[in-house]
């Protein structure tokens, strides 16, 4: 396949797959620079949902009639598509959840809560999203565990030497973000996990921002658990994935209980079902799973390597252009970065920047990005963030630059 760089025809074609990119926001062509918050959906995803409800919808795992079988088949096929996508060993290792947040909660609740003892230690990092902080904090409070943070340096990179010092015989879990949603930093998770594995520590990866910006191979990374959300991978909201190694999952108790996750229920007691059903209580998000599968197939069809190359090109282009504006300072300048750029503009509050850009059709995110500890590290209340996906163009970035100049003009800085 051709490179996507300097390939406006193909990018135009790809942009055509996303109906929302053809709209105007506030009367201006819609420039979407907020893919780290959520990605837009290609038509194939919308079509998969329409097809389901129009042609064969029915509850799954439940009945013998044809539509029920077909819905079940498509749902289970979605699991298989995800399994292959992240190269998991067995289909039982893929659990559908409502999102990355639920996946991480499930690990804390169903694994850590039962396997860690008072005084045991969990290592996370200073650049985690709240979804990979708060569940551990809550558990630590309940069970008197110790939560340690790998610090970050001024570029927004993890400090390896400090990590080495944090590891102790009491360390039971290392859980970290693969790509930081506020800094863009790509963490060396393979090395971090390898070191943890050597001393028998369970490893857990928040892949919310990496599933769409890297090639994930759970066996190569040797992670025990992995979490991500469908809506950041061009799929629907309300669906996410928990990957867990079979031997670990198989010993875990369910997080939620109810229908379809039990073998038998009497008034006295309950025998839980096998994997993966044990963790999928109640009616599942059928359209979510089927929509996500359509998104993954679409994503793969573009060629992941090509996407990464192009996104990296966009990142470099945008970084360069932004750095040409002297009033702007980029927060997060790690050597290895994904296409996420946080910045501040003198003392103009990010929300004012966001409002002024909005009027020009540009969507960026402003705020703390659910990473308050990161903001504290950098001593700033919030940032503006432009995050890029393969459907963005150099022209999008040019419009952003023009927008930032309007901000500066307005504020006369």
């Amino acid at each position: 396949m051709n490179s996507l760089i300097n390939n406006p025809q193909e990018i135009a074609q790809i942009r055509n797959d996303f109906p929302i990119l053809q709209t105007k926001m506030n009367g201006k062509p819609f420039i979407y620079l907020d893919s780290a918050a959520s990605t837009q959906k290609p038509k194939v995803v919308i079509d998969a949902i329409t097809d389901l409800y129009t042609n064969y919808y029915s509850n799954i795992h439940r009945s013998v009639y044809h539509y029920s079988q077909l819905s079940t088949e498509r749902y289970e096929n979605a699991r298989e598509i995800i399994r292959k996508f992240i190269n998991a060993n067995r289909f039982e290792e893929i659990i559908f959840t409502s999102g990355a947040t639920e996946s991480l909660n499930l690990i804390a609740y169903s694994y850590a809560r039962f396997n860690l003892q008072e005084g045991d230690e969990i290592i996370i990092t200073e650049m985690e999203h709240h979804a990979n902080i708060v569940p551990w904090q809550q558990l630590a409070k309940e069970k008197n565990l110790i939560l340690k943070y790998i610090p970050i340096n001024e570029r927004g990179e993890l400090v390896w030497e400090e990590y080495a010092k944090l590891l102790s015989p009491r360390t039971k879990i290392v859980s970290l973000v693969h790509i930081s949603n506020s800094l863009g930093t790509i963490n060396p998770v393979k090395e971090i996990f390898a070191k943890a594995k050597k001393v028998g520590v369970v490893t857990c990866l928040d892949a919310s921002q990496s599933i769409q910006h890297t090639q994930i191979d759970v066996q190569d990374l040797d992670c025990d658990f992995l979490a991500f959300s469908g809506h950041k991978l061009y799929g629907p909201t309300g669906i996410g994935v928990l990957y867990g190694k079979f031997d670990l999952l198989d010993k875990m108790v369910p997080f939620k209980t109810g229908g379809d996750m039990i073998k038998s229920v009497t008034l006295e007691k309950t025998i839980f079902a096998d994997l993966p059903e044990r963790f999928e209580a109640g009616t599942q998000n059928i359209e979510g799973a089927i929509g996500l599968a359509a998104a993954v197939i679409y994503f793969q069809s573009l060629g992941i390597d090509r996407i990464l190359e192009y996104e990296n090109h966009l990142l470099n282009y945008a970084t360069e252009k932004i750095m040409e504006i002297p009033e702007v300072k980029i927060i997060g300048t790690a050597e290895k970065k994904a296409s996420i750029i946080s910045f501040i503009l003198e003392d103009i509050h990010p929300h004012d920047i966001g409002t002024i850009l909005d009027k020009q059709g540009i969507a960026i995110r402003t705020g703390q990005h659910c990473t308050q500890p990161v903001m504290k590290c950098f001593g700033i209340p919030a940032t503006a963030r432009a995050s890029l996906a393969f459907y963005n163009t150099e022209e999008d970035i040019n419009v952003l630059i023009k927008g930032l100049k309007t901000v500066i003009q307005t504020f006369n800085v």
């Binding site: 509050h349 929300h351 006369n412």
Partner: protein, 141 residues
């Protein structure tokens, strides 16, 4: 579609840059802290109330231009006013940011700049933060 200048007028930018009544009052009679988690806006409001009159007011704030300017303008407006007058101002401000100024001519020139805020629903909270903090402080009398 409202124009940008509706929101980011000279007055707002000026108050944002040079907030009036900035600082804090030692031994103030009333104090309250306001917080808007969405933007990270934060305000510390200090009052000296005598009888039913606001004798002095100072504030310190972190946040966007709208919230800072709103706090500054509020501080200038309420200084020296009694509770009844302040209540009337509060009601008028609330009316302006939620319904605009089409049916209502602001009584104070500096309130006019908030006529456009209702076009920016996410910014209404920024504009009202100072005023809600004021109510909170007064309730502590």
């Amino acid at each position: 579609m409202s124009e940008l200048s509706d929101l980011y007028q000279e007055v707002i930018l000026d108050h944002n840059k040079n907030p009036r009544n900035w600082g804090h009052i030692d031994n103030c009679s009333n104090h309250s802290e306001g917080f808007n988690p969405l933007c990270g806006d934060h305000i510390d409001l200090f009052l000296n109330v005598e009888g039913k009159t606001i004798k002095d007011v100072k504030f310190e704030a972190n946040g966007c231009a709208i919230s800072k300017a709103s706090a500054s303008i509020m501080s200038a407006l309420i200084k020296g006013k009694n509770f009844e007058e302040v209540k009337a101002l509060y009601d008028e401000f609330h009316q302006i940011v939620t319904h605009g100024c089409e049916d209502h001519e602001p009584t104070e020139i500096n309130l006019e700049v908030f006529c456009g805020v209702k076009e920016y629903p996410t910014r209404v909270k920024c504009a009202t933060l100072a005023w809600h903090t004021l109510v909170d402080a007064l309730n502590k009398v």
